[in-house]
């Protein structure tokens, strides 16, 4: 019993240890890399298109700002996630504008 417990603890601490060594950004393209910069630029460009057709969403720019801020820390995968989220919103907003082209009353 004691042995099992010991092993479990050992495995557990090992796994946390490795997580510390290799945080979620072991992909060295994350963080302040070109990938993130490109994702932020793409989100910004798509959001401009959404604004131009009058359908920009409330939080998209906030996400872009947050992505930019996060990208200042090297190796931060949240920056990429955030930028991609902003871009997805901007694309949805553009689609919304198209869908609403003939909006009108139902009576």
């Amino acid at each position: 019993m004691k042995k099992i417990l010991l092993i479990t603890t050992a495995v557990f601490s090992l796994s946390t240890y490795s997580a510390d060594l290799l945080p979620s950004c072991h992909n060295w393209n994350d963080g302040s890399s070109d990938t993130v910069k490109a994702a932020i630029a793409a989100a910004t460009a798509e959001n401009k298109k959404a604004a131009k057709v009058g359908f920009e969403w409330r939080d998209t720019v906030k996400f872009i700002k947050k992505a930019t801020k996060l990208s200042a820390t090297p190796c931060n995968s949240s920056a990429l996630t955030m930028a991609n989220m902003a871009k997805a919103q901007a694309l949805d907003a553009q689609k919304q504008a198209k869908d609403q082209a003939n909006a009108g009353p139902s009576f």
Binding site: G54, E56, W57, R58, D59, Q89, A103, P105, F107
Partner: protein, 287 residues
């Protein structure tokens, strides 16, 4: 034909000095009828002017609370300030009234209006600021403060006056502005993908967080309003109709537009026309 007779009779009544008003676009009149008939059919026990009580028209307890508050409204001082501002002379000696036609109680219902020469809609607040700049004064903020006080004073002075916004028949540009406002009203927006109509036509009377959804019909009869919510923010509780538009856009997580640009001004044009025939109820309290 009947309408023509009415207009002629009206012109005769008002005297020859008043120009005959342009006739309402037939398309717009059909829209007004459909819009108002929808609400009348849905709430057959309500009279047209009952709709102006907004969320309170949908709930008796809330209506009673509202009426209690309105007996001693928390915004009386601001209305007095509005009156004072209205009557205070600019540096050149003129007052606001020099920019407007008719007595103080007849001003509110002249707006929003189509200005054919400028090719755009003018609303009351825009005219108040235009009056200032025409007289060598600086513009004042659009959404609250002094602007809202003056506008609220004029709205209260106009209590009982009938809304009659005209989109002139045969004026393509006016109709286009109206149609833009109409499209805005019916377009789903923001992350929540909801239109003004989804809440203020389809879901009237339903509860949403702590609020009861008001009918779009009659939403403009009492603006600016004084809100407890706005009181708790910077300012003193008053807000214009376009301030409210911004709030409703944000609620659905859409980016609000700048006030007094085409988007909200055309929306105000459409939104007000839909309540033609209703009375201005004076500035009111809202939650």
């Amino acid at each position: 034909m009947k309408k023509n007779i009415t207009i002629i009779a009206l012109a005769a009544l008002l005297g020859s000095s008043v120009a005959i008003a342009a006739q309402q676009s037939a398309q717009v009149q059909a829209d007004i009828d459909a819009f108002q008939n929808h609400f009348k059919a849905k709430f057959p026990e309500m009279d047209l002017d009952d709709f102006s009580k907004g969320p309170y028209s949908m709930n008796e307890d809330k209506l009673m609370q509202f009426e209690n508050i309105m007996e001693m409204p928390p915004f009386e001082d601001s209305l007095d300030k509005g009156e004072q501002l209205w009557n205070t002379a600019f540096k050149n000696g003129k007052t606001y009234s020099s920019c407007f036609n008719g007595p103080v109680e007849k001003i509110r219902t002249q707006f929003p209006r189509w200005n054919a020469e400028a090719g755009k809609v003018e609303n009351l607040e825009a005219m108040i600021n235009k009056c200032r700049t025409d007289n060598g004064e600086k513009k004042i903020g659009w959404k609250k403060g002094k602007m809202a006080f003056i506008s609220a004073y004029l709205t209260t002075a106009a209590t009982g006056e009938e809304i009659n916004v005209i989109v002139p028949e045969g004026d393509e540009k006016a109709l286009a502005a109206y149609n833009k406002g109409k499209k805005f009203f019916y377009s789903k927006r923001g992350q929540l993908n909801l239109s003004c109509a989804n809440c203020h036509i389809d879901s009237v009377g339903k509860k949403i967080r702590g609020d009861i959804l008001s009918p779009a019909l009659g939403q403009i009869t009492h603006f600016p309003v004084w809100r407890g919510k706005w009181m708790r923010k910077k300012g003193n509780g008053f807000g214009t109709i376009q301030r409210r538009y911004g709030g409703c856009n944000k609620q659905v997580r859409a980016k609000p537009f700048k006030v007094h640009k085409d988007e909200y001004t055309n929306l105000e044009f459409f939104h007000t026309v839909m309540s033609n025939g209703m009375e201005i109820s004076g500035t009111e309290y809202r939650q």
